[in-house]
């Protein structure tokens, strides 16, 4: 870590001079969408530009009140930067100004003068100065440590509430808690042991030090994996997007054909309360039957439903699209109907094969009074580059992170090629 910090100490100093010049020539405040909207398809009145090409697996990101971007990378760069720092430049773009944090991961969140970021086992926080610059990039506080990481759903997405609590997703290190993970016909383990330390959202103190399971609270269990989550201030409640289970056909071909496996189960949005149980691995949600179904690993047959006991989703989306980010929009730039609604970045499917893949877009879910209200819609499409690339799963770009800029712009990160997009509304 020390070496990388030394390297990056030089870079900002070298760039400082050029930024000083830059700021003299940059047209302040004027954000210019590209003529082709950076390849994105958007509703009328919206435009988009490429903020920066990071060339890295850009996962989640935040934008500070000053317009600085902190981008969390799935793995650190060759120079040891797991978090990239991008400073605003002319025309709404941004330029790489350094990096720090020699660990890969997904989660990043800013709140109350701190930048929080996660590896796949820990959560760190960095004090920010009055300009939202990280004070000591090499000396973060370790807020949470020792979290379970298996060989799937390793990432630890994070969000904070307004009462000093930190929420961490600990994904299940299993698809459906079978005795033999993903093996054809293998049944579920009774009282799924994964749930003791994973498959849910854990709550910790946002200002705690080196907390682990004994200091945390299993806030909600029965969530297979959550990558997108956000605190809804109106409902004063944590909302999460679950990645639903895979491979119903591969594992139980007698019960599910390829088509039903591609459309089951729904990717669900849940509004959480402390102590909830969303039902994984015992249930999945069938969007056509509007019902929680008994998982075949636990005696289900595609028809048996499960009542009560488990949390109902508040909204359901097509299967396997992989919701990787959730953002409640509170900005003033977009038209009023978007305010307090949810943007969802669907990373794009793989588990619909051999049926066409789906996703690779940012969706909008209207909300009213802190609850989903009305049908969701595709907001920003064509990250894949073409319909054929989306159908084959060989997408050019894959939306993974969402952030709201101080002016109300919506930023989207792509973890395939590392493009950072900015979507603006032009009155």
């Amino acid at each position: 870590m020390k070496l990388s910090v030394l390297r990056f100490a030089v870079l900002p100093a070298a760039l400082a001079g050029s930024f000083a010049l830059y700021s003299l020539t940059a047209a302040p405040g004027r954000v210019a969408p590209e003529p082709g909207n950076a390849g994105l398809k958007l509703p009328a009145g919206f435009g988009a530009l490429v903020v920066a090409e990071t060339g890295a697996h850009a996962r989640h990101l935040v934008v500070t009140p000053e317009g600085t971007l902190y981008v969390k990378l799935a793995k650190p760069t060759a120079k040891g930067a797991g978090i990239l720092v991008l400073k605003p430049g002319a025309g709404g773009k941004a330029a790489l100004a350094g990096g720090f944090g020699n660990y890969g991961g997904t989660g990043i969140f800013q709140k109350n003068g701190y930048l929080y970021a996660s590896s796949n086992r820990e959560v760190f926080r960095y004090k920010l100065d009055a300009q939202s610059n990280v004070v000591s990039p090499a000396q973060p506080e370790t807020v949470v440590t020792g979290l379970k990481m298996g060989r799937e759903h390793e990432t630890k997405s994070i969000a904070l509430d307004n009462a000093g609590n930190l929420y961490v997703n600990i994904g299940a290190y299993s698809n459906s808690c079978q005795v033999l993970d993903r093996e054809k016909g293998s049944m579920g383990i009774a009282s799924c042991p994964v749930l003791d330390s994973a498959g849910g959202i854990w709550q910790f103190r946002a200002d705690g030090q080196r907390q682990s399971y004994p200091q945390g609270v299993r806030y909600t269990t029965g969530l297979r994996n959550v990558v997108g989550l956000d605190w809804n201030a109106q409902a004063d409640q944590l909302f999460v997007m679950q990645h639903g289970r895979d491979q119903l056909h591969d594992i139980f071909p007698a019960l599910y054909d390829e088509k039903s496996s591609a459309r089951l189960p729904a990717e669900c949005m849940y509004a959480l309360k402390k102590g909830d149980n969303a039902g994984w691995p015992y249930t999945y949600y069938d969007p056509a039957q509007h019902h929680k179904m008994l998982a075949p690993e636990y005696g289900g047959d595609g028809k048996k439903t499960v009542d009560g006991q488990y949390l109902d989703p508040v909204a359901a989306y097509p299967a396997h699209m992989a919701p990787n980010a959730l953002l409640f929009y509170t900005g003033a730039m977009f038209p009023a109907r978007y305010r307090n609604g949810a943007f969802i970045a669907f990373h794009g499917s793989w588990n619909r094969a051999p049926e066409p893949q789906m996703g690779y877009f940012v969706a909008f879910q209207p909300f009213k009074d802190g609850k989903p209200s009305g049908a969701w819609e595709i907001f920003a499409d064509n990250f894949a580059g073409s319909a054929a690339k989306a159908a084959s799963g060989r997408a050019d770009h894959r939306p993974c992170g969402l952030a709201q800029g101080p002016d109300g712009s919506l930023y989207v990160s792509d973890d395939n090629k590392g493009t950072i997009y900015r979507i603006v509304y032009q009155k």
């Binding site: 060989r151 390793e154 033999l180 993903r182 093996e183 054809k184 293998s186 056909h249 591969d250 094969a353």
Partner: protein, 154 residues
């Protein structure tokens, strides 16, 4: 790409046979093995059979183009796991695989379940297909080779 993977052990065995053979037993010399990678490659029927197995059991994770899935399921093109040791490859199908795979700087972590319910002939045709598809041009895998790996156990 005519790297014939006839094992050194087989060559040694042939040499020993020659040494032991008296003048009158020259005809006991083992017949040269039929080459499995003649210019035309594996038989179309064998490839078709392998593709059928691939489509049914492998395609969901490794995808129609064999390119795999980012972070999760490794690609099958131009990797030593597929092009290299056939016994190791057959073992991955039979016993599954749960190690992190690194290919061209990217890591793939999803578990590969065991597929020991497939017959030796199904696995042989599948591996022949995979080693001859997605830009790969490696030799065929015989049923006996799969059988030997299965017999050796995990």
């Amino acid at each position: 790409m005519l790297r014939h993977p006839l094992p050194a052990a087989a060559l040694l065995a042939a040499a020993l046979l020659l040494l032991n053979a008296g003048p009158g037993t020259a005809q006991a010399r083992p017949k040269p093995k039929p080459r499995t990678q003649a210019a035309g490659g594996p038989a179309p029927a064998l490839l078709a059979q392998g593709k059928k197995v691939y489509t049914q059991y492998c395609l969901t994770c490794h995808q129609a183009d064999g390119g795999g899935v980012q972070n999760m399921n490794p690609p099958l093109s131009q990797t030593s796991y597929v092009l290299g040791d056939k016994a190791r490859l057959a073992g991955i199908i039979l016993h599954g695989f749960s190690e992190n795979v690194e290919i061209k700087g990217e890591t793939y972590t999803n578990v590969m379940p065991a597929h020991d319910f497939l017959t030796d002939a199904q696995i042989a045709s599948l591996l022949t297909y995979v080693r001859h598809s997605f830009g790969n041009k490696a030799s065929a895998v015989g049923t006996a080779e799969v059988q030997a790996v299965r017999a050796a156990g995990k």
